[in-house]
């Protein structure tokens, strides 16, 4: 039983002892079940740490994060990366019926994504403007989420991974921290039109 199912079991608390046992019969039958419902859980995706020894990539560079956490793109001679991690999502579905991964629809509604100009990441804000002059941008790219690679993990569980792209300016920002201050929304529909 997966951790998630254990928790669902705990939450629903459906533990029903029943049956009237004779005094000499030291047995008791216990039935337990998992409540109905759907869950979706996603890990954040991380682009890892990119180090640019010379502080200059030569040109604006787009790095791609694949489902295995590898970072590729640009000239690897110009930077090194610690390796990222794709955002792994797990869907569970428990309505008694068998889970059919082909009926899962992963939605990536552009209107819900808070990426783009308002999600510019970076340091060195230009004086008096509050705008980053050398931004790091998480690209608003529908292809960045690979919602089609859904893997069935059992009768009522499936997983998929969210990958992404990161655009770095030619001159790297000063190293001062990591950023996760931007969000994207992933929704999952099962067996709906």
């Amino acid at each position: 039983m997966s951790e998630l199912k254990k928790i669902m079991f705990f939450l629903c608390g459906i533990v029903v002892p029943f049956g009237t046992a004779a005094a000499t019969d030291a047995t008791m039958e216990i039935k337990a079940g998992i409540g109905t419902g759907v869950s979706l859980q996603c890990e954040p995706l991380s682009f890892g740490l990119t180090i640019i020894p010379n502080g200059d990539l030569g040109s604006e560079t787009t790095l791609s994060l694949d489902s295995e956490g590898n970072i590729t793109g640009g000239s690897a001679a110009e930077y090194s990366n610690s390796g990222g991690s794709a955002g792994e999502c797990t869907i569970t579905h428990n309505y008694g019926t068998e889970f059919d991964k082909d009926k899962i629809i992963v939605d990536y509604p552009t209107s819900d994504i808070t990426l783009g100009p308002s999600a510019v990441l970076g340091l060195d804000a230009a004086p008096n403007t509050g705008e980053a002059d050398r931004p790091i941008v998480v690209l608003d790219d529908p292809m960045a989420i690979t919602g089609t690679a859904i893997t069935e993990q059992g009768d009522n569980e499936a997983t998929f991974k969210v990958t992404g792209k990161l655009k770095l300016p030619a001159r790297a920002p000063d190293l001062a921290g990591g950023w996760n201050n931007t969000d994207t929304t992933v929704s999952v529909t099962y067996d709906e039109p």
């Binding site: 954040p44 991380s46 950023w179 996760n180 931007t182 709906e192 039109p193």
Partner: protein, 277 residues
């Protein structure tokens, strides 16, 4: 502007800056390493609620399976014109739930009939969406330093994923749940994972079917298959598969398909079709 952390400039000797650089790298690496601890999650007890004259209110449970508190937004995606016009055909609440760790919160929906409303089924769609908490947004301390321009420059970035599950509310105003046409059982003798299937179809269009089914071996009360049966407004048919488990012999005779027009199933089935009598 979101997502911007400005570090104070600390001009110090190169050796100190090197130390700062190493410290910053360590902290960024630690931060990124720890990210998976903050997985976003949402759990809903059901994705469909049916309201009618006889059942004017309903609710779903939104559960937080993390140890710490979690907030959820309830976001309308599409609402019937009767709601958009200001007629309060449907009320719901709360718009935002704060659920302690390992607890659940209720999201309630109430149907209030309005005058002169044409008969029909009215559909409202919502997303129940996890919010990203302040803790998720935390980054490494901003005083990591301003490194030597000739030294190691770089960046780390991560994107928090908000997860959302849809919840659909069907208001049936002066219409009943549709009856279903049930096909003969269609065996799939060559499929080791299935005994076969039924095809069920709605007898009337424009109304969803939200109910339950069970396939029983006749007489022994053993459920060969059971679960929720959901045929949305826009679909007319649904296939009910009867899975074959392990080395089971084929289910060729003596079984019944029972249908209820509510989920979970209550009382006697509304429809029954038996084979092998």
């Amino acid at each position: 502007m979101r997502g911007k952390i400005r570090a104070p400039s600390l001009r110090k000797a190169p050796a100190v800056n090197d130390l700062k650089s190493v410290l910053a790298l360590f902290l960024v690496g630690l931060f990124l390493y720890q990210l998976p601890a903050h997985a976003a999650q949402v759990f809903v007890s059901d994705t469909v609620v049916v309201l009618s004259e006889n059942s004017r209110s309903g609710s779903i449970e939104v559960s937080n399976m993390n140890h710490r508190a979690q907030e959820f937004d309830v976001v309308p995606i599409s609402l019937p014109d009767e709601i958009m016009k200001g007629d309060r055909l449907l009320r719901w609440g709360p718009d935002r739930l704060s659920v302690p760790g390992n607890r659940s919160g209720s999201l309630r929906f109430v149907y209030r009939p309005i005058a002169n409303l044409p008969a029909g089924e009215y559909v409202s769609r919502f997303n129940v969406r996890s919010t990203v908490s302040g803790e998720d947004r935390s980054v490494v301390p901003g005083d990591a330093g301003d490194v030597d321009k000739a030294g190691k420059d770089g960046a780390g970035a991560a994107v928090g994923i908000q997860v959302a599950l849809p919840v659909t509310i069907y208001i049936r105003h002066n219409v009943d749940a549709p009856l279903l046409d049930i096909s003969d059982f269609i065996p799939t003798l060559s499929d080791p994972r299935s005994h076969g299937f039924y095809i069920v179809g709605k007898k009337s269009d424009g109304v969803s079917f939200v109910g339950a089914f069970a396939v029983d071996k006749k007489g022994d009360g053993y459920n060969q298959a059971k679960g929720r049966l959901f045929i949305p407004q826009t679909k007319s048919t649904h296939t009910i598969d009867v899975p074959r488990k392990g080395t089971e012999g084929f289910l060729l005779a003596r079984h019944c398909l029972n249908l209820w027009d509510s989920f979970p199933a209550k009382g006697s089935p509304n429809q029954e079709q038996c084979l092998g009598d």
